[in-house]
Symmetry: C4
Subunit: 232 residues, 4 copies
């Protein structure tokens, strides 16, 4: 049995949630998890259909993207994941998908405004969208630079990765994370639902304003932080 | 066996309809029921996923929100439910969800106009939307005030809770009710369908008028009241 | 065993297709069939959920809406069905639903234009929509008058019920028919798909023209009439 | 056992993916495959519902549309398939469907622009749409001319069938292909997803530009050609 068996199983289970939650067709998604003590990341192998995936297939790499254990190549998005783990020190899992409504907002290069309490239950800010990448970054170490684009938008907007657990990469699609791989997929599912709700809302009334700050704060802080008391 | 076993089972069954009817992802919803004689309300416990819920988990509280029976905390929305039970004396069950199209109308702060006979089969009026809550109410006893917003819009528009069994809370989402918990979820499902139909109709023709009063009355009164004769 | 056992079973099977094809929630639909030789119609009983329906529950009435056999009340829409059977002499089954996109077009009181070959494979014309009913008709024998509205639009547009097997009743929803109950539900399913395709097409390009007559004729007549040769 | 047993089974399996991927209702689709050495094509028989289809039902024809083996008529679209096989020499399977969003773009006679990396992962170009067919072609050998319309748009836009594996036939719907029947259905599923993503993107922001060429090239060439390295 692998030293990283429980990490592999958590990452495997989280990957299997992608098709169950209909967040992607075929293999258009991947989930990773980190064991901070061991300094290793478990991630979906490259190009394997979800219905053929087993816990043993999960590839273990270190934070410099070097293979530690596994018979298959890790997902090509591995460098994006490891960069985020190095800079977002509180997170334990990352989920990348091509879920349909979130991709549409990413392609439109629009952040998703906070229009209601479903959104405010999860985050105060809009769901940020990165800048479109420069040609130099695209032609350089692309998957690493994808991570940098995410770090940049968090830096510029002064966002915290433990408060805002989702982002849109411009022209590409969503990344979400959380304290473990299961929470990362949960946030990817919530993001897709928020993306759909915002789409419909702005079709009904294109001038819908953001919800008022007091209502955002009420919903966010009754679920998060030291005064949290809420569960549905 | 609990004194409130049949209430718990009815509330449990109604809660399980939420994922079956796809009215919410994860735990974004809750159903309660009331035993008017015993003066107690059964409601979903806070934060429990539907697929782990059992009838025994249903929490029993009184109309002043005091715990009567149960090992878990009641849903944080309990105060909204109990306020409605105290003022809407004919209702026996309440369902709150974050169903996608209904939330979109609530976020757009738009009532859902009566555009066709599917709507008129269930209610004469538009589906009302509350005012956006004041900062003072939000920062006060929020879940109680959510109930007050609903009572206010019913008072202002002179609506009867036994005739209009659904409402949108501005920037938040839908509440529906009925003579028992099962009927409350039925009405929440109907509301979501009416919300989608109205969305599509106004996209096809933004100037679609309300249907004529005689047609509303025909459809409503052939199903409701003393001259009812209709079933599909 | 009933004299009308095979009619009951055909009508039962066709009714069960409504939830399978997701054409309606709850009991928002009904299918009937006719035995022209016996002069009787089998139809869904009023208000029975599909998952409780059995073949024995199908109600048999004559063409004057008199009960012939059955323990339950026939669907309240029976008079619409029997009027259509009396005037559309070639049809053997009728299906009424509240399918979402078809209802949206009916509520917008817009016919569905023939925009592509999926439509032309089934009918040459637009899918017609009736006039909004007059107050006098609504307050009179309403379900009978619903049938009259359908007959009127077919008369005015000079349509044949064996060529155009679907219609939208203004502010209400779709009726479809065919040579037997199964074909009626097939046409109701096709109508819903055409309604969705037309909705999407006109959102992409609001000025999309009808397809050219030669293409309509090619698609329709390779599947219908004496020179038909087509199957996918 | 048939000489063409493995071709029949591959074509059968690929056809069964159409309902599984919800690419068509009823029989609104068909898949074929070619055995280049034997010079024969296996294709779905005409008008058979997917749930009655067996591998033995697959019809074998030669590239001149002459029956080689089979008890049923081949799909009426056979001439479109064989013409494509004769001119697109690298392809091994073809899939035609009436999937909803792809049909909407075809009916609007609009190519699907390349708006994001999900698209660029599969092709560099827009998904092309053919010209509307002339009356003479429609009234001539229609299914053969449908293939000619596809060849024409590839010739005019200087596209390669091994790089662009999908097309919209104006006023009709999508065709997709690949190195075998399974890959053809894969591409038809991807096309439907791209069609939906583009629809949503342009609703959110009608002025969304194509993604930049460097990003298209990065995504396409990391998955295709001699320098490919990508898998999700």
């Amino acid at each position: 049995m692998s030293l990283y068996q429980s990490l592999k199983e958590a990452v495997y289970e989280a990957n299997m949630e992608i098709p169950r939650q209909k967040l992607a067709i075929y293999t258009f998604g991947n989930v990773s998890g980190i064991d901070r003590q061991a300094g290793v990341v478990g991630i979906k192998p490259s190009g394997i259909p979800y219905d053929e995936l087993t816990p043993d297939d999960i590839v273990i790499v270190d934070l410099d993207n070097q293979l530690v254990e596994g018979k298959m190549r890790p997902s090509s998005d591995t460098k994006t994941h490891t960069l985020l783990y190095r800079h977002f020190e509180t997170i334990g899992g990352i989920c990348h998908t091509h879920s349909t409504y979130a991709v549409a907002w990413a392609q439109a290069v629009r952040e998703i405004p906070n229009l209601g309490t479903t959104h405010a239950d999860h985050l105060v800010a809009s769901i940020p969208v990165t800048e479109v990448m420069s040609d130099a970054m695209i032609q350089g170490d692309y998957e690493h630079e994808t991570g940098n684009q995410i770090l940049n938008v968090f830096r510029e907007q002064n966002l915290s990765a433990s408060e805002v657990e989702m982002v849109l990469v411009a022209c590409h699609g969503p990344f979400a994370w959380g304290k473990n791989p299961a929470k990362a997929v949960y946030n990817a599912t919530v993001l897709e639902e928020l993306a759909k709700m915002a789409y419909l809302t702005l079709t009904i009334n294109p001038d819908t304003p953001r919800i008022k700050q007091s209502l955002i704060d009420k919903h966010y802080f009754r679920k998060h932080g030291k005064d949290a008391y809420y569960g549905q």
